[in-house]
């Protein structure tokens, strides 16, 4: 593997416009990755779904080189209809377009951050892989007191020109004081087998609001890993919604540091899995100061041969008195072959806190089905109605009405 990595990295250096300094910087990450290799089940965070095995099984030979010097044609058919929005378009890991047409151009700044080091300690080797092979890294800065008028949609798409089987991409966001960003990640239905490695950094200053919606709906054979690292200052709010339904493998990881008082984090997730899919959500919420709040709700509906895992961790520092932390995961297993794993974890060092978690899993309630059938629905309809209600509960948590409607339609739920 290391030879392939090395030679692909050399090709990348040859075709790109990186400065010498940047190349050296990337090289360090490459060496780190070669040393560590892909994470495997021996690491606690990867216990339930072993990514190195899954990659081995699905994509036997990973190749990493993508020619970032060549631009790709944008296919407008992938765009979301019925919602005016700003766009960032990634094709094969290359940013093809950044378009903030609906916004005041003076309030948004785009900064090259290719050389910016990772701001937190990590063991995760996928961050090394990402940092070694990404194209130029940009930071989107939203200035003080500015709320974006329209949501920003980031399109993740792949075309036939792709040379590698691994795509790495990264975006950084900084939300100035009192600013607001609604961000939708939209994954298109490309069926080739690639391993996509996404890394986002968010820095939320005082009173800012971030709403991030990740929509992976269309069935595709990709393997995806996504990491959001969120730093929050006083009074800031982050809301993350994850729809995990399309890819063969998808692991969403949220790492959220509540550094400022009265900051809060909300994470809501839906797994809706069909044949052979394996998905995971792993969250770490670090309550580091007083009066912070977090709320997590994850629901799974699991079909044939599927596996979902939820690892949620709430950490409360000894300074973080008056913390309010809540975590709930529920799963419906529809088939004999479906499997649900959970590890809801609390690590608490302060006494004046309110932390709880719950987890429940099982099959659809036969009594409820009987109730509905006795009122004239057939078995299939009753089942669908129950699942609809089960998932709608999570969608209801979305605070933006326009986006809530969009997501309800995308999932095909009835209100």
């Amino acid at each position: 593997m290391s030879e392939q990595l090395q030679s692909d990295f050399d090709k990348l250096v040859k075709t790109s416009k990186f400065s010498n300094e940047e190349i050296q910087f990337k090289k360090n990450f490459l060496n780190n990755f070669i040393k560590k290799g892909f994470p495997n089940r021996k690491q606690e965070d990867w216990k339930f779904l072993d990514i190195s095995q899954i990659i081995k099984k699905n994509i036997s030979n990973l190749s990493y080189f993508n020619d970032y010097s060549q631009s790709n044609k944008i296919d407008p058919s992938i765009f979301v209809d019925g919602l005016e929005h700003n766009k960032i378009i990634f094709i094969n890991g290359r940013i093809e377009k950044i378009d903030f047409n609906f916004e005041d151009q003076n309030k948004i700044e785009i900064i090259d951050e290719t050389k910016k080091d990772i701001s937190f300690d990590y063991e995760n080797s996928l961050i090394d892989l990402n940092s070694a092979f990404t194209d130029k890294v940009f930071k989107i800065l939203i200035k003080k007191n500015y709320s974006l008028k329209k949501p920003l949609i980031v399109y993740h798409s792949i075309n036939d020109e792709i040379k590698s089987t691994n795509i790495n991409l990264r975006l950084d966001f900084e939300l100035g004081e009192n600013s607001c960003l609604k961000l939708i990640d939209y994954f298109s239905n490309n069926t080739a087998k690639n391993f996509i490695n996404i890394f986002y950094n968010f820095n939320l200053e005082k009173n800012s609001i971030l709403k991030n919606y990740k929509i992976d709906k269309f069935i595709n054979n990709n393997l995806k890993y996504s990491l959001n690292n969120i730093e929050q200052d006083n009074n800031s709010v982050s809301e993350t919604f994850i729809l995990s339904a399309g890819s063969d493998y998808f692991k969403n990881e949220i790492n959220c540091n509540l550094n400022g008082e009265y900051s809060s984090a909300f994470i809501n997730g839906i797994f809706s899995l069909k044949e052979n899919q394996q998905h995971e959500i792993r969250t770490t919420i670090n309550h580091l100061v007083e009066n912070t709040k977090s709320y997590q709700l994850v629901k799974s509906v699991l079909g044939k041969n599927t596996k979902s895992a939820y690892q949620g961790r709430i950490f409360v520092n000894s300074k973080a008195q008056k913390t309010d932390g809540y975590q709930l995961s529920k799963a419906i297993l529809l088939d004999e072959t479906s499997e649900f794993n959970a590890k809801p974890e609390l690590e608490i060092y302060a006494d004046d806190v309110k932390c709880s978690h719950g987890s429940a899993s099982g099959s659809l309630d036969e009594n409820s089905i009987f109730y509905l059938m006795s009122r004239g629905l057939n078995y299939q309809q009753s089942k669908e109605l129950l699942i609809n209600g089960f998932l709608m509960d999570v969608v209801e948590k979305i605070t933006d009405v326009e986006i809530k409607n969009l997501i309800t339609n995308i999932i095909g739920l009835k209100q």
Partner: protein, 480 residues
């Protein structure tokens, strides 16, 4: 008054901290084949037992000490320990209590466990284990009448080799984890219980463990077999003298319940927890595992963990028989610099199996407490269910309470429900109690006892009273 700011007051003296001055026979220091042969030889064990030990030792050489647990401890030098220590007077086992060394009798009297049967009116049969050997078993005659075998492990190996051979190592095999395998190689004594078919044991059986000698580890092994349709309730208590050094206690407990049998196993663990600065104390690294082998069998663990510098154990149930039931009730209290990483494993293999976990953790002072549990429902375990509740109570902001449950559901007919909360004693509750004339300490005691009630009521009556007191003593000085 801000209770949190106040320093933790000195814990009430550990009243079991005395040592008994008694002559000992020890095995040479260190862990090697000769020491194992020495142990086996001094106990006059048959050859198959020695082979069992050596097999475990061979395997142990390949194993590494696990280190995933939350409480870390300095490396233990296994070559610097005595693996066998016994009072000299026990070399030729006394035939009756009258022949027993009076010093030993005195020790147990101090501990509140008179071994003379006439003194025992409440009818609990006791097997007392002093360092490495079982010193006395009471009420033998009464038990023999029912065909119940209750004796020390060494005696069982001599007198009932068939039963021991058949069941020893079937739940915790020699190929298990590091500490369990260490125990298989060097275990010294422990209790053996066999309840024959259809017998309901007429009294509580109990073992009392005492570590006395210094620089020794205690490695006892307990094996309980409940044959078809039988019932037994078994209690275990532990104490140790106060010493500056850390002492290792790595026991193995195996329970086997056949068809329609029920085993109730209760522990009140009060090993020496170390002083208020965290010096000394027992490392309690115990492997406890029960196998519900037959259909409709039931195993229930109840534990009150107040002692030990580090408690690291997961009493588990393997629910193999159809319709079998596993239960786990636990109170774990840590104060000062104590650390605990405890919980349970419920492995559902048979159909219609049920398990219930109630865990209450209380941490005060500078202590750290972790609940770690596994609920695993296998794909064949149709229509199984589990309910887990783990609550933690924190006193002060220098301590920690953690919950790490692992939940694996591979069966769509089965239900798993898990709940956990962490909180502190609310000011309102304290105020209410104090207003009615209780002092703060009494008020905390009352609230904590209420918090633990679900578990305490699972204990047999005599133990429940003791445990309730213990809960109060363990927390003394944690509120100002």
């Amino acid at each position: 008054m801000d209770t949190r700011e106040k320093d933790i007051e000195k814990l009430k003296d550990y009243k079991y901290g005395f040592t008994t001055d008694i002559e000992n026979i020890k095995a040479p220091k260190g862990l090697n084949e000769d020491v194992i042969k020495f142990i086996s030889n001094i106990k006059k064990e048959p050859n198959w037992m020695l082979e069992f030990r050596l097999k475990a030792y061979e395997r142990l050489k390949l194993l590494k000490e696990p280190n995933w647990q939350k409480p870390k401890y300095p490396k233990i030098d296994y070559q610097d320990l005595y693996y066998y220590s016994a009072p000299k007077s026990m070399k030729d086992k006394p035939k009756s209590l009258d022949e027993l060394d009076p010093k030993l009798l005195e020790t147990y009297k101090k501990l509140g466990i008179p071994l003379q049967e006439q003194a025992r009116l409440n009818g609990i049969a006791v097997d007392a284990v002093f360092d490495s050997v079982s010193v006395a078993t009471t009420f033998k005659g009464e038990l023999t009448k029912h065909g119940i075998i209750f004796c020390s492990m060494s005696e069982a190996i001599q007198k009932h080799p068939d039963l021991v051979k058949k069941y020893l190592g079937t739940v915790i095999p020699v190929t298990d984890h590091f500490f369990a395998t260490l125990n298989s190689a060097v275990f010294t004594d422990g209790s053996f219980v066999y309840i024959p078919e259809g017998v309901k044991c007429p009294m509580e059986l109990s073992t009392y463990f005492r570590i006395n000698a210094s620089e020794t580890g205690q490695f006892e092994r307990t094996l309980i077999i409940a044959d078809k349709g039988s019932y037994v309730s078994y209690l275990e208590g532990c104490t140790a003298p106060m010493r500056d050094e850390n002492q290792l206690h790595a026991a193995n407990v195996e329970l086997i319940a056949l068809d329609d049998a029920e085993i109730k196993y209760s522990t009140v663990q009060n090993w020496y927890p170390g002083d208020e600065n965290g010096k000394g104390g027992i490392y309690n690294f115990v492997t406890k595992r029960g196998l519900c082998k037959g259909n409709n069998s039931k195993i229930s663990w109840t534990q009150v963990e107040t002692g030990s510098a580090i408690t690291w154990k997961y009493p588990s149930c393997i629910l193999k028989g159809d319709n079998s039931i596993g239960e786990f009730y636990s109170i774990a209290i840590t104060n000062n610099h104590q650390k605990a990483d405890t919980g349970t494993k419920m492995i559902h293999l048979g159909k219609n199996t049920k398990s219930k976990i109630i865990s209450k953790g209380i941490s005060a002072g500078f202590s750290d407490m972790t609940y770690r549990g596994l609920v695993d429902i296998n794909s064949k375990a149709k229509n199984s269910s589990n309910y887990t509740q783990c609550d933690s109570l924190l006193m002060g902001n220098k301590c920690g309470a953690h919950t790490v449950p692992y939940i694996k559901n591979k069966n769509f007919d089965s239900n798993i429900a898990h709940e956990a909360t962490t909180s502190k004693i609310s000011e309102a509750q304290l105020h209410y109690c104090q207003q009615r004339g209780l002092n703060p300490e009494e008020a905390v005691g009352l609230i904590v006892n209420g918090f633990c009630k679900e578990v305490l009521q699972q204990l047999p009556m005599e133990f429940a009273v003791e445990a309730q007191k213990l809960v109060g003593i363990s927390l003394e000085g944690s509120v100002g």
